[in-house]
Amino acid sequence: MAELTYREAVAAGIAQEMERDERVVFLGEDVAAAGGVFKTTIGLLEKFGPRRVRDTPISEQAIVGAAMGAAMTGLRPIAEIMFSDFFAVCWDMIANEIAKARYMCAGQLTLPLVIRTANGSGSRFGAQHSQSVENWAMAVPGLKVVAPSTPADVKGLLAAAVRDPDPVIFFEHKGLYATKGEVPDGEYVDQLGTAKVLRQGSDATIVALAAMVPRALQAAQRLEQEGISATVVDLRSLVPLDTRTLLAETKKTGRLYTVEENPRLCGWGAEIASIVAEEAFYDLDGPIVRITTPHVPLPAADALEDNTVPTVERIVETIRRTAG
């Protein structure tokens, strides 16, 4: 085991896979020579050379389109889109082309590619550089969607994503890049579509993703002192979705809460709530409650941004108020 930061785990995960399989290549803006604007890909150019690690122009459509063309012709590309907000710039490539190509040609093409991106708020960059758009990707059939919360999960799930034969959108959280965690040594591959139960409780089940996971854990600790015992589930994958764990953990407590950084409407928690309400209705002891960012763009000022996205305090207060 080694202690790595979340950002170091990105480079470690990419390196592990590029080492293992020479078909894995990596492209993006400022990723090679500069090691990435978030310093997530330092050392890769030096290690693997300019044929396999390439800097591109500011051309999101070309970056993602080229990844698609390369993936369908024998390579396993990792493409970086610097900020997840920029998915809107190349959304045709992702939603119309990559997601649908295999289905439309009845399996003649396979696209083993990964698009990794920096998602989420907390950096005071303003509304167009702080969004959580994992729900956009979840809504398009044909995309797998992953959002790790720890360095170990970054490395393990990135490796799994690269090895997956289908397109995977890998949402790193820019607010977590500096966080530290234990990462297994040696070759480490996790499994897409598996949630993790980080804490077991008996009164409420809290499901969270990425940067909301540490907040959910802190909230659970505070609630414990007030006599409310909460389970915390790190969802990790939106597609494939670990419905088995969600349903089992909700049945144990009878109460479900989601903590979502995406804006309210059609956030990923709405789908979870719908599935649980339909399939575990008779095990519910109360309404399913979603704790989300309100349905507004994110304001820039630190005092504003910090109080728009769900805080530990808001999570605690909501569960305390509704748990009875």
Partner: protein
Amino acid sequence: MASDDIDRSTRLALYRSQVEIRLLEKRAYDLFLQNLVKGTSHLSLGQEAVAAGFATAMRPDDYTYCTYRGHSHTLARGAPMVGVLGELMGRRCGLMGGKGGSMHLTSVPHGVMGSYAIVGAHLPVAAGAAWSAQLRGSGQVAVCFFGDGTCNIGAFHEALNFAAVWKLPVIFACENNQYMEYTPIRSVTAVQHPAADRAAAYGLERIIVDGNDADAVYRKARESIEKARGGGGPSLIEAMTYRTSGHSRADPAKYRPPGELEEWTKRDPIALYRARLLELGFDEGDLRAVDSAVQRAVDEATEGAKASPPPALEVISRDLWADGGSSWRN
């Protein structure tokens, strides 16, 4: 006439390819009017020489990327007629089993890596395939076909710049048929030649070719493909041509100025090529034999497609993922 750098069998292949496209597209049109071809269909009548010229110059393992007006390119690469017609008619024998339809014809075994319905989307994808070939050192090239209208969309710019900077083995072939859907291309483009006049912006040569002359297309295609294969980087070629049918469906194309269609019909690529072949000493009987053989093949393919049943409903949930399924949960 240029010196005879094109051998007899190549010329016959060029002729046959154009006739195949012409007769199949005509059949597709008839079937559409009979409501056997559903949805929409974008025909390449009048543009046969471009598809034939390039395909004949390509290696079997080269990649073709084309637009929703892609029946011609799909056929020219050797995809079976019954598969093309079957796909248009939504039948089980279709190239993609009815999953994709007219605008998305794909036949990977023939190098047709998709027909793309969003304008410009496939240009970066073609660049990516070229990058893959370059990295793998396979010598393959990608040829990317698109219309004049595509030259005004953002992805065109990104792909051209990208390919030029990375010196990718991709040929961007613009079929300038004078119309962006229903609008004359000149009225919506800042330059006269939507592709060729922008080549300089990417450090590329300005190349305009007569798109209705199969030999001219073939020569230019061969030259640019060889250049790309040899590491010389991408090319942007503007082929001047004309579509004698409407943009799609049964568009009667009333937006054409009077006399324009007649002018271009005089320059019908197949009529031109026929005349040239006869001039070069080809036997008229041989040419007519090709015509009959192709007609027979189209007729057979038509019957085959008509006899094929609709796809089984269970394919609705198949082939989203590499494992053949579409499950998103456990």
